[in-house]
């Protein structure tokens, strides 16, 4: 397979420390501190952090400030936005769009974050074993990865959720199970790069076990590109959840942004606001996450910064 094509731009390059003999003898910073400084100097990454902070604050604190049932009918149906009793209007049943927006974010963000975490854990574990051991282990694990790569992800998730009744848990599992292949390939490439290096061989020479080398020695070095890919995985998982809910395959008892769009779809010509606002919320959230991901990429893999 042509690895180069499937991997995100962050495939190569170990952490680069500034050469000590550089002119003016700059103070050598810990790479993490240096990366953090670069990240904080990046305006679009800061903008992404701010956007995400607002979205998270609303999702977490919203229910305390504005306790309500998002499914409750509160006003006349199809109330336009910016009216007094419904700031963002109401949908075809009279449910308040602002309330559903506040509560809907919780399910979307929770599923997105947990599913991304799950997919990253699966991806790193399989990728690490595959890249570290190589040979038959690698062959077998790569076949599994290829298999999950050819499965059309959305369709497969639809099948799983339909067969095992939709709930937050099945949706999260389905998304996690279908979306780990990219991380696995990336991790594998990193481990293949490091496993023959001197510091790893030295570790082996003093009798370290495989488990220690995999998790304690190589992983910290392989982490920078993986952090970036994990961030982007959160964005992808949020979009995935929204797509499933839009198709009516989310948890029907949990309000979510995708569900709002899906259920108002047929009435969209009489209440554009019931679709426009939740969609904009998804857009802003995913945009924030991907801006942070880009910023992390610039900070952690400075060699690969895009022109």
């Amino acid at each position: 397979m042509n690895m180069t094509a499937t991997l995100p731009a962050a495939a190569a390059a170990p952490r680069v420390r500034p050469p000590p003999e550089a002119p003016k003898a700059p103070k050598v910073e810990h790479p993490t501190v240096e990366a953090m400084r670069m990240f904080l100097r990046n305006p679009s990454a800061i903008a992404g952090m701010a956007m995400l902070a607002i979205v998270l604050a609303v999702a977490i604190a919203g229910p305390w400030i504005h306790p309500a049932d998002p499914f409750e009918i509160r006003t006349a149906p199809l109330t336009p936005p910016f009216s007094e009793d419904a700031w963002l209007g109401s949908d075809y049943l009279g449910r308040d769009v602002l309330t559903t927006l506040i509560y809907g974010g919780r399910a979307t963000l929770l599923v997105g974050a947990v599913a991304a975490l799950l997919s990253v854990l699966i991806g790193i574990t399989l990728g690490a074993f595959s890249g570290y051991y190589g040979g038959r282990v690698d062959g077998a694990l790569m076949r599994v990865t290829e298999f999950f790569q050819v499965l059309p992800a959305l369709l497969f998730a639809m099948v799983v959720v339909t067969l095992f009744s939709p709930s937050l848990v099945t949706v999260t599992l389905a998304i996690g199970i279908v979306s780990w292949t990219g991380t696995a390939r990336l991790t594998r490439a990193e481990y293949m790069k490091y496993r023959g290096m001197e510091f790893v061989r030295a570790e082996r020479a003093i009798g370290a076990r495989d488990a220690r080398i995999i998790w304690k020695v190589i992983l910290p070095n392989a982490l920078p590109p993986l952090v970036v890919s994990a961030t982007l995985a959160v964005g992808a998982a949020i979009l995935f959840e929204a797509g499933l809910s839009f198709l009516g395959l989310g948890d029907p008892n949990q309000m979510s942004w995708g569900l709002m769009i899906g259920s108002s779809r047929q009435y969209v010509l009489s209440c554009w606001w019931a679709v426009a606002f939740p969609g904009a919320a998804i857009f802003v959230t995913v945009l924030a996450v991907s801006l942070i991901g880009d910023g992390l990429n610039d900070a952690l893999n400075p060699k690969l910064r895009e022109r």
Binding site: F147, V150, L155, M158, V159, G243, R265, V275, I282
Partner: protein, 322 residues
Amino acid sequence: MLRYLASRLLQGLGLVMAVVILNFVLVHAAPGDPVETIAGASGGMSPELMAQLRTQYGLDRPLPVQLGVYLGKVLQGDLGYSYFFNMPVTAMIAERVPATLLLVLSAVLFAFLVGTALGVLSSRKPNGMLSQFITVLSMVGFAAPVFWVGIMLVILFASVLPILPVAGMRAIDSTGGGIADVLDVLHHLVLPALTLSLVYLAQYSRLARSSMLDVLGSDFIRTARAKGLADRIVLYKHALRNALLPVVTVLGLQFGNVLAGAILVETVFNWPGLGRLAFDSVLRRDYPTILGVLLFSSIVVVVMNQLTDLCYRLIDPRIKAA
């Protein structure tokens, strides 16, 4: 090369077989069996009739035997009957393929052509307006849910600017046949194809741009310039050819994603394709049809991946057959 082809073919077959087995396992791991589903759908059934149906469908035989029978059927192109329409699943899929093919191909082609053009043009001025535009476009393409973009376009073109049809593939009063029919379908195609292509347009333009910048920085381009070749020739004849490789690869390897996008877009625009069939079948709990679509799409993805790999090797002779 022949040995390489044979091994790729075997590998592809193995992947397809794995999908078939996964299908089988999924259906059997799910709570309830098909007979219960049918009984539920038809509103109750006596235990005797259910037992009779189980015998008739072979559900009382041991699992390995059932798997064998299923594999045999699939190899013959028999994917079972839809619970809902009582029609062969294969026939239903075949009926829907052209619509999806039309949608997906036009979207991908549009994204490829326009995306490459944008990428090439912007590579001449790496910090110009066009480059900024591509950056914004790629953010929107990644972050905006494709179904939401579709619905927003529906709102725009249904109420504000009613020049394009927003649903279906043909006008209701379409008489069918002839050039008028072709124009009608194309007219209906514009919005769904545009929506689906947005994601890929964003990706390809960004990819083409960075790939062009990469190539333009290499020695052979400097040599070509030093020879005094016209800028146009350097750009299109030397650089573009080399810069296209990654774009072509991503294009082929992403086919599975394009199908996923097609499900959402077809649902938004009532486009009568495979994705719409999958969505409707999910709502109807029509398992044979869903699994049939899943299997069919996986086969398409496998074939596309193999073809991409092959094309890649043909375009770039540096990659030797392993």
